[in-house]
């Protein structure tokens, strides 16, 4: 609750700064405000409070996942100054909408009622439709926002229909209420409930971009302004996965045999399609889009292999994935500005003049592949261990195959940067930007070397 109030106040404050024309104050206010929000969030640790008839539940899951998402947003805002440095007009509205989107994400991790879930998803989605189209003169940005808006609002209907059918069967929106209904009626659940469950899976799978509901994702992620894409593939993805996780672990865990095959097939399809299509990409941004699809498949495995440790696994995975992806996007922003595109050929010879950037991107790629001793390795290790522990050997084998395939495309930019000859050029990143890239790279290495801080948290 504190988090939501503080974030909303921050967003409104940004809007007021925009009205007062204090444009140079915007980013400092955000970069100072988000850590305060983060501290307020962490004070909710171990309090386990339920607000307003269980509408909002601030338990340790919510606190940790909210912290990861708020921290990721902070990291993205570190790159905002550079990304928008040529823009003359005030950016208060864009920054405020990002923060309001974060409010939606926070609702999606800490809801205790399906109404709140839907409200969170809609707050997030409407903010993203606008952000995706915020580059008004760019034709790809227009395409992205139109595709996302049309499909997103259509699929929201599926989610809402699912919620309505579940309400029709159980008579409650409350997660615990649905859980007790499921326990009481486990042997003879009415078809209306089952249909509602699967419609909800469809709605949520669209928001996470799970195969076969992923067709919008590469185009939207590619067309959206790069900074917003970074937000979409990290914070938004984490929020949607956690929403799915909370729903299934709280409400539907008693009828696991009902939804488990569906989610398992979706996860396998996501891992395979995401990774194999990733092989054919020729530019980094689209490749990262497919990478995000395949990683959401891995995160789905933690939902399927539900046990007391899977929340922690998911936390570690979301953190490692978010940091590495934001790092990759940080370098991507520079290359796109210097070269005007992000084809792999544009990365040729980048390492000679820009060692920090090349090193950072390599760390990000290796972490996403899962090479030890980086954070991504331990994330995948714990995840596969959890999956194995619950006896899903075949899921683990497919996940490892997918991981091996992904190495091929993650290495493409690294090889281009270090081994291929190309025209030398300077990315002109500036000291502060380089420091943030290095900070993220060191964070990725440190999380990998010392994973024990995060792994026994919840």
């Amino acid at each position: 609750m504190n988090t939501i109030i503080a974030l909303t106040v921050l967003g409104v404050a940004i809007l007021f700064l925009g009205i007062l024309k204090k444009n140079s104050w915007l980013l400092p206010t955000i970069l100072a405000g988000i850590p305060i929000v983060l501290i307020l969030t962490i004070t909710g640790w171990d309090t386990n409070r339920h607000y307003f008839n269980d509408m909002l539940i601030v338990d340790n899951y919510a606190v940790t996942f909210n912290s990861v998402m708020i921290f990721s947003t902070f990291l993205i805002f570190m790159f905002a100054g550079k990304y928008y440095h040529l823009v003359q007009r005030s950016l208060d509205d864009i920054y405020a909408i990002v923060i309001f989107a974060l409010v939606g994400c926070v609702l999606m991790t800490s809801y205790g009622n399906l109404i709140m879930l839907f409200l969170g998803i809609e707050t997030l989605s409407i903010a993203l439709y606008i952000l995706a189209g915020s580059h008004k003169e760019s034709i790809t940005s227009n395409e992205a926002t139109l595709k996302y808006f049309l499909l997103g609002s259509f699929l929201s209907g599926f989610l809402l229909f699912g919620i309505a059918l579940i309400y029709g069967a159980s008579g409650t929106f409350n997660l615990d209420g649905i859980n007790s209904y499921v326990i009481n009626h486990a042997s003879h659940l009415p078809p209306i409930f089952k249909a509602g469950l699967f419609l909800m899976i469809i709605g949520l799978a669209f928001k996470i971009a799970i195969v076969p509901f992923h067709f919008w994702a590469p185009d939207v992620y590619e067309g959206t302004p790069t900074l917003v894409s970074a937000f979409m593939v990290t914070v938004v993805k984490t929020a949607s996965i956690i929403a799915l996780f909370r729903l299934f672990s709280t409400s539907f865990s008693a009828v696991k045999e009902l939804w488990e095959p569906t989610l398992a097939i979706l996860a396998v399809l996501t891992i395979l399609v995401g990774n194999f299509t990733g092989l054919y990409q020729t530019n980094l941004k689209r490749m990262l889009a497919y990478s995000s699809i395949s990683h959401s498949g891995y995160m789905m495995l933690a939902v399927i292999a539900f046990s007391h440790s899977s929340a922690n696994t998911l936390l570690f995975y979301a953190f490692a994935y978010s940091v590495a992806t934001i790092l990759a996007f940080g370098v991507l922003i520079l290359v796109r500005e210097a070269k005007g595109n992000d084809l792999f050929t544009s990365f040729r010879g980048l390492a000679k003049r820009n060692p920090v950037e090349a090193f950072s991107l390599s760390v990000a790629m290796l972490s996403l592949t899962g090479i030890p001793p980086l954070a991504g390795f331990f994330a995948k290790y714990y995840l596969f261990f959890t999956v194995m522990d619950k006896g899903y050997l075949w899921l683990m084998i497919i996940a490892i195959v997918g991981s091996a395939v992904s190495a091929v495309y993650y290495f493409k930019p690294v090889i281009s940067m270090y081994l291929e000859e190309g025209q030398e050029f300077d990315l002109k990143a500036g000291v502060a930007y380089r420091m943030s890239l290095l900070f993220l790279a060191i964070l990725t290495v440190l999380t990998g070397v010392l994973p024990f801080f995060l792994i026994n948290l919840i």
Binding site: G11, A96, G104, A127, P190
Partner: protein, 166 residues
């Protein structure tokens, strides 16, 4: 008894106008059929004793949104007969997937026990007094937090509507 006949009449009207909305060649006819469908659904709400929902539905959907649709169609001068540009394969795919959803829904409703819904408390829930009590007691938090959603939408509308380029 009369409510039963009204129910059948409104259902047939809603289905007919929804189908006509889809297959009309002129956009303006589609829009008008959609308005008719909204009115029919509003009638269903009244039959369910949900007066507030019925009024809001007619004001918002049949009123505001349809005016917006009509203005768009007229301003862009879209009132021409058009053949659907979709390919045959896309049409068949859409029919198959839509039909599958329909079969699933029919299968659900066929086995649904209607006697479950006869709860005397629930028939009064749609009255505005009860709705207000529920909204400001049980669902206060979602009601308040939706302000963030509306603020986002308003800021976004201004952002997208302004002439300034980024």
């Amino acid at each position: 008894m009369i409510t039963r006949y009204l129910f059948y009449f409104l259902s047939i009207l809603a289905l007919y106008s929804a189908i006509m909305m889809l297959i009309s060649r002129r956009q303006i006819h589609s829009v008008l059929y959609l308005t008719l469908a909204f009115f029919a659904i509003g009638g269903h709400y009244i039959l369910l004793n949900a007066q507030f929902l019925a009024v809001v539905h007619i004001i918002v959907y049949a009123g505001a949104i349809m005016v917006l649709f009509l203005f768009t169609v007229m301003l862009l001068n879209l009132n021409t007969e058009q053949k659907s540009p979709k390919k045959m394969s896309a049409k068949i795919g859409a029919i198959v997937s839509g039909g599958m959803l329909m079969i699933v829904l029919i299968a659900i409703l066929r086995t649904y026990d209607i006697s479950m819904t006869h709860d005397p408390d629930l028939t009064q829930i749609g009255l505005i007094k009860n709705l207000g009590k529920v909204l400001y007691e049980d669902y206060l938090l979602p009601f308040e937090i939706s302000s963030v959603l509306f603020l986002t939408a308003m800021v976004g509308a201004v952002l997208l509507g302004k002439k300034e380029q980024i």
